[in-house]
Point group: C2
Chain length 266, copies 2
Amino acid sequence: MNRYNAGFMTSRGQPMKDSRHAVRCSECSVRRLCLPAGLPVEDIDRLERVTRNKRLVKAGETLYRSGDSFHNLYAIRSGSFKTAVIASDGDTQVTHFALPGELLGLDAYSSRTHPSYAEALEDSSICVLPFSQLESLAQEVPALQQQIYSIFSEELRQENEILLLLGKRAANARLAALLVNISSRYARRGYSASRFVLSMPRMDIANYLGLTPETVSRLFKALQKDGLIRVSGREVEVLDLIALSELAGTHCGYDESEIGRRSVSV
Amino acid sequence: MNRYNAGFMTSRGQPMKDSRHAVRCSECSVRRLCLPAGLPVEDIDRLERVTRNKRLVKAGETLYRSGDSFHNLYAIRSGSFKTAVIASDGDTQVTHFALPGELLGLDAYSSRTHPSYAEALEDSSICVLPFSQLESLAQEVPALQQQIYSIFSEELRQENEILLLLGKRAANARLAALLVNISSRYARRGYSASRFVLSMPRMDIANYLGLTPETVSRLFKALQKDGLIRVSGREVEVLDLIALSELAGTHCGYDESEIGRRSVSV
DNA sequence: CGACACATTGATTTACCTCAACCTGTGTGG
DNA sequence: CCACACAGGTTGAGGTAAATCAATGTGTCG
């Protein structure tokens, strides 16, 4: 698909086989960003019994729909998803773009029903985690319980950031923030921070940022004119990450050292 | 202060004494909305050992500041709080208005540092919950662990609703949604759903809704002109909850039966 | 009473939306 | 191999909801 962040497609464009050796958390490429992060090996062994079940989700397919009853959490192994909520009048808000290592479905626990839906933005691969099993295991493994709290808590923190984005920031700052955010998240996954291919269409970006596709299009152009990025369709090259971060009004995506490290490594 | 939702002030306007008999969860007026909700009595007994420590917070005082290190969760016993995040450029976004029974500080777990701050909107009373103790107890008491997950999950769900509000709704729908939301939350706490006193200034409402105080002021007036509410300063009377809910674009705040029940009970 | 924060009101500006046209790439069928 | 359709994306002209700027009002507390 592309040479920067190709996800789970091989270089020949074939979907990766769900071969047995790739199924184990301890060998998963995103284990440091996912549920097993920081767990002692013996606990990872036990976690692997919960995460055995894998699934492929094709681009455009939904992993779960709004209203579906809640049984599982889903850990993204490769690819990407959008999550969105639907209001009673049909109005839809994209709430998150999820990347490998991230957990989907946490918002469904309390009502036992998914309040949002998750749709694959590209062909993706996920682990199915039966929550009852995860819950039992967490009851016995404090480190896992802590990791679950940590993931919940971090999601809350991030949502608050997005509230600030939507409530206080101008349109160009919102787009800049999204680009900085995606850039840093790709970087943590071993992809280039400065060159990547957005897996979502302009419409989803616009929806997520509370804007229209037209405005997003014009903003991409404006950022390019100012020399902060280069864009061609969904391909983005970040030319001035510092200026982009400043425009976004946040230095949270990176600490300075990381900016330096990443920009030379490309 | 007012006869509708007086919080922890007595009828003579004196702050309630933190008398020993009010300290127990099992006798707390908001126990059905708080951490002990749904726990078997023997588990509530154990929970009470964690929730012994109480604190009064005066109007305008902060419970914790952005950057403070994380040790405790706080359960609101009476009064109300706003929580807000501060961007690196000083820009602030109010993220939540919290009422009795709700938990503050959950977003701090993952970083061990409070990413937001919490400020009392009126003289308030809270339980201090040392998180390490709560965590240990949850490890032994599955029902408590589930309750904690449930609270996390519900917060995530609500944040997504607010994203939709900020991303998709017009200004008047945002204010309507806030009023419906507050109305229903007061109702669940035994106060009137149709008459209440907002504990927050216009500025905080505006900030929360991603608007300016001027716009909020005009919107209150417009809602009054349309016969949906009556406003006088911070006093609000909801005249047409159904129309207000429709304007808000949500029927989530109430199910029909509840609207009927509440409106006759006033 | 006077000071001060909060709130309202009015006049003007503007950032973004809306609507409509057009472009561009990709897949499809003749 | 080309015509065509169609979805996603861009561009432009014009409109509007809400922001901004600037007074003015109102309640509260020392």
